[in-house]
Assembly symmetry: C2
Homo-oligomer: 306 residues x 2
């Protein structure tokens, strides 16, 4: 049994896409990461987060049913859960944030449960770099791998904190625009080289429907996204990717470049399910047979015989 | 020896990118297609086009040095060669056309030399669909494969002609926005299905730096673009792709799905050279050792062991 520690938001989302809209439903980076990682065997996932007393028991029940340990989720008695609302444009590539109520997230001091302080893999979901660092500092053993997700917002308001944290990070996952902002380079090849210098030995650049690039020293690997007839709701795709990536590596144990490539494929595989329905519905219900069948499609997609 | 008939413009281009600008240099879809296809063995390439008397002998000499037959290039004694000038924006993904002088192209009646009327493969470069059709009608034997490139401009002004021609076409290569326009569908999976219904058994959707998708019945194949540190000038990348695609298939002869996948990889491989320098400079000078080495990089890029 390998331990995966996940730091990330557990939240309410309200989502509008050309296909419909939802009331407040379960969301948050930590939620997607945990649910995605739960598809792997022999992985003990602990989730560190914060919610208010409005967070329903049924959502805890869902996380427990997937064997996600929620000891590290603080419940603030007189607080309200973080709430995000957004609307996607016609082509799903851009979204507007309509509402952000930080609520309990405003005073989030992550507390890593004793049991997870020696986790082999630490997944730092998108949060203020100081919050991510506060969690990492509590480890009593150097993790085999620290993976960080972040976003342009933190580059705007907390770049120095982010850069300090990056020195302790093995893998960074960001999207193409964020990689360009962080590095100041348009070319993703050059951007990755600069971000390597900031700390992470592995740089994963997510390009949404255009797939993901993995950079490691002078090596490159490209994982396509599976072309889909319908993308229903892109929310959580990047976090699902991170959960699949870390979950696979926790299961396998060996952190070779070959396994890290496989982990990128697994992240892409699981993310392709999340976008098929609103919120966590699809990733929370996906079966082993489904992910296995889709893995075959990923293999076929880029295989050639030259 | 297999025959490849190419219909396409031979032109002067003036190009401006963030890295510099050129005076009138050799350009045109037919030029790029021919130069790209010249990298394959046992392929007899005939180019059908039109130029003015301002077209220099040295450019003919270049084409001849690559064993491209130019019998089908009409030289209009009192005419001027087609001239295009354009400027690329910072990120190279968008360009503005600054000048278009059709000149001799305005009255282009393609004449296929007798020798190429039984060509196995016909590559119809981007031109008015009626011009493409006029060339195709001159074949005295049904080609094994007809490949068509087109653009949004013809969808705007000659959609019916394009749709009539598509019924005779085996492979269409267009970019993602054009596929969306032609089909009326945003999803490329749905777009390809609709374009299949219009005639082509194979639909290739080019996504520039994001690679190319090949659709055939219910099968999909994805060829990545090689991530490059520097893209100097994207002009002609799509035509180079088409030349590599058809040149490889003419060389191999067998038009199986596996070979067509390989042809997409070869098209991507050669296109990755064209963008490294202005105009045709790089593709006209590339060596076998270089393309062979880059093919290895393409193989490595998507190989994984799951």
């Amino acid at each position: 049994m390998s331990k995966l520690l996940v730091i990330g938001t557990v939240a309410f989302d309200a989502i509008e896409t050309p296909f419909g809209k939802t009331d407040k439903i379960l969301g948050g980076a930590g939620t997607y990461i945990g649910l995605s990682a739960s598809n792997f065997k022999n992985v003990d996932t602990g989730l560190v987060s914060i919610v208010g007393n409005d967070f329903p028991q049924e959502y805890f029940d869902l996380l427990h049913s997937k064997n996600i340990n929620t000891e590290g989720i603080e419940v603030v008695k007189d607080g309200k859960t973080f709430f995000w609302g957004g609307k996607y444009h016609d082509n799903m590539n851009k979204r507007d944030t309509l509402i952000t109520e930080l609520n309990v997230l405003e005073h989030f001091n992550p507390v890593v449960p004793e049991k997870y302080k020696d986790a082999e893999i630490v997944m730092l979901g998108n949060l203020h770099p100081l919050v991510q660092n506060a969690a990492l500092e509590q480890m009593n053993k150097k993790p085999k791998m620290v993976v960080l997700d972040t976003m342009n917002f933190w580059m705007d308001i907390a770049l120095d904190d982010l850069k300090t944290l990056l020195k302790k990070v093995d893998v960074i996952t960001i999207n193409d625009e964020e990689a360009q902002q962080l590095s100041g380079e348009y070319s993703l090849v050059k951007a990755a080289a600069i971000i390597h210098e900031m700390g992470p030995e592995y740089v994963i650049i997510k390009k949404g429907e255009h797939g993901a690039l993995l950079f490691h020293k002078d090596k490159m690997f490209f994982a396509p996204a599976l072309p889909l007839a319908d993308v229903f709701d892109p929310t959580g795709a990047g976090d699902t990717f991170a959960g699949g990536f870390t979950g696979y590596l926790a299961q396998e144990g060996e952190l070779s470049f070959d396994n890290i490539k496989n982990a990128v494929i697994w992240g892409s595989n699981l993310a392709s399910f999340t976008v098929e329905k609103f919120g966590v519905e699809r990733i929370a219900g996906v079966t082993y047979a489904e992910v296995d069948e889709r893995l075959s499609k990923f293999k076929e997609l880029t295989k050639f015989s030259l």
